[in-house]
């Protein structure tokens, strides 16, 4: 059972375009993370959002946590070829240990 659904699964856009990736769940999480993974490497944490409604910005990337802490979005402004990669959201539940559940991933290709 996949608790976190990401959309779209694949995205190919031209350099300079904007895009949004969505991460949805029916479950409530104590926090939500976004990772980026490049081919042949492990995922690397980009950001953690903790509070419902929270918005965090990382240069051209804007992350938002839904008010009910069940969903999140990642918006990239003026995409660059260096943004190419697999984007993964991950929901965290606490209690005993920090259980981290990953979404299905969004593969982004930015064409120069």
């Amino acid at each position: 059972t996949q608790l976190l659904e990401q959309s779209p699964q694949f995205l190919s856009i031209q350099e300079g375009e904007n895009l949004t990736v969505y991460c949805n769940s029916s479950s409530v999480f104590s926090s939500l993370q976004w990772y980026r993974q490049e081919p042949g490497e492990g995922p690397v944490l980009l950001v953690t959002v903790v509070t419902g409604g929270e918005v965090k910005k990382l240069k051209r990337l804007t992350f938002q946590f839904g008010d009910a802490r069940k969903d999140s979005s990642l918006h990239i402004t003026a995409a660059q070829p260096g943004d190419t990669g697999l984007y993964l959201c991950a929901g965290v539940r606490t209690g005993g240990y920090q259980k981290v559940t990953f979404g299905t991933g969004t593969k982004l290709q930015v064409i120069p």
């Binding site: 990772y35 492990g42 995922p43 005993g96 240990y97 920090q98 981290v100 559940t101 979404g103 299905t104």
Partner: protein, 115 residues
């Protein structure tokens, strides 16, 4: 750099043979995890550890066992490898010094092919 290494990075084996993957960390993180990554499934948790000799199952634990005899090392064993276990395996760590927010640091992955 969270000081996490996996070995071997690549392995090809035959069905029915045992395989052990090793994860080594140098950062004193309390929690260690083994995930597998397959197209269309994202990252799925196999087993995790919350301390020395303390381990538990994840969502896809069948056919896998783990051991953690010291803080630094977390071993994943496939007792009798099957073709369905062909995958890329990632080790992750969190909770430096016993604390943590669930933020994971990943190794570079071990690509396993079972023929």
């Amino acid at each position: 750099d969270a000081g996490i290494t996996q070995s071997p990075r690549h392995k090809v084996t035959e069905t029915g043979t045992p395989v052990t993957l090793r994860c080594h960390q140098t950062e004193n993180h309390r929690y260690m995890y083994w995930y597998r990554q397959d197209p269309g499934h994202g990252l799925r948790l196999i087993h995790y550890s919350y301390g020395v000799k303390d381990t538990d199952k994840g969502e896809v634990s069948d056919g896998y066992s783990v051991s953690r005899s010291k803080t630094e090392d977390f071993l994943l064993t496939l007792e009798s490898a099957t073709s369905s276990q062909t995958s890329v395996y990632f080790c992750a760590i969190s909770g430096r010094g016993g604390e943590g927010t669930g933020e994971l640091f990943f190794g570079e992955g071990s690509r396993l092919t079972v023929l």
